[in-house]
């Protein structure tokens, strides 16, 4: 393992898509995407998002990830703000055939892990001919 010092990155704002109902900003989460023989796995950094605040959707090969973040407390006064707070949103075109019923998602320590199992190839079906 190489010892590397982490560099801070400003969050990148997600391109606006229609008007949002909730006010606030939306950012693009950093992701890792890798493929195993069985599945496509997506890992996204979404600090401040708990499991019940994630909305996932896969429709016509378009995968949408949305994580909601609670706005900062009104009772506190911000003195120094280095990072912005807002929701997370990102879309991906998924090329592979995915078995939608077996998608698994988990959120731990602000990291979303999404496992999209590949659909089994359409197996040749044998048609039985019933004799009457």
């Amino acid at each position: 393992m190489t010892e590397q010092e982490l560099k801070p990155k400003a969050k990148e704002e997600a391109p606006a898509k229609g008007e949002r109902v909730r006010p606030g900003r939306v950012f693009i989460p950093a992701v890792d995407i890798f493929e195993t023989p069985q599945a496509l796995v997506l890992v996204a950094d979404m600090p401040g998002v708990s499991g019940d605040q994630v909305t996932l959707d896969l429709k016509d090969n378009l995968l949408t990830i949305h994580g909601q973040v609670a706005p900062p407390s009104e009772r506190e006064t911000m003195l120094v703000q280095e990072y912005a707070i807002g929701d997370y949103y990102r879309e991906f075109q998924v090329g592979e055939l995915i078995d939608k019923d077996k998608i698994e998602a988990s959120v731990k320590d602000g990291v979303l892990k999404l496992t999209l199992p590949k659909a089994e190839r359409a197996k040749p079906r044998r048609i039985e001919v019933k004799s009457g």
Partner: protein
């Protein structure tokens, strides 16, 4: 010629930056932009009557890999972000998340009680609550009628 005699020049710069931010915030009527550059992790510092709060986004960092120390008004956040290696037969399409070490030294903008510091880590966000000393807490002053 020394300009800052007994002041920390960086804190002065910080203060200036904050004032500038405040100015722009008032003009634009929107939230100030995060400062460029800096050190990982980026932090937000807020306050209420009793506490100073330091927050940092550290997704996927295990609490046991975090080391927080407070000394002479300086808060030091040290740690490591580890990304577990996947099996050998994986093929990466995107790799945007980064792993590595970090060390952030913050000069706190207000006095705190070093014996009353609490740190909590939830959903990848670290929150350090530092209590103000009793003697500097803002006190409500009652106005007596004649």
């Amino acid at each position: 010629m020394p300009i800052f005699l007994d002041r920390d020049p960086f804190q002065e710069l910080d203060r200036l930056q904050r004032q500038m931010d405040h100015l722009f915030q008032n003009i634009a009527g929107r939230e100030r932009q995060p400062r460029r550059g800096g050190v990982y992790p980026l932090v937000n510092i807020s306050e209420d009557a009793d506490h100073l709060y330091v927050q940092a986004e550290l997704p996927g960092v295990k609490p046991e890999d975090l080391d927080i120390t407070l000394k002479d008004q300086h808060l030091v956040l040290r740690g490591e972000r580890k990304i577990p290696a996947e099996e050998n037969n994986v093929n990466y399409h995107r790799r945007e998340r980064e792993s590595g070490f970090f060390r952030q030294v913050l000069r706190l903008p207000a006095q705190v009680n070093p014996n009353k510091v609490e740190a909590a880590y939830q959903d990848g966000v670290l929150t350090i609550a530092l209590a103000r000393p009793e003697e500097v807490k803002p006190r409500q002053i009652e106005v007596k009628g004649a």
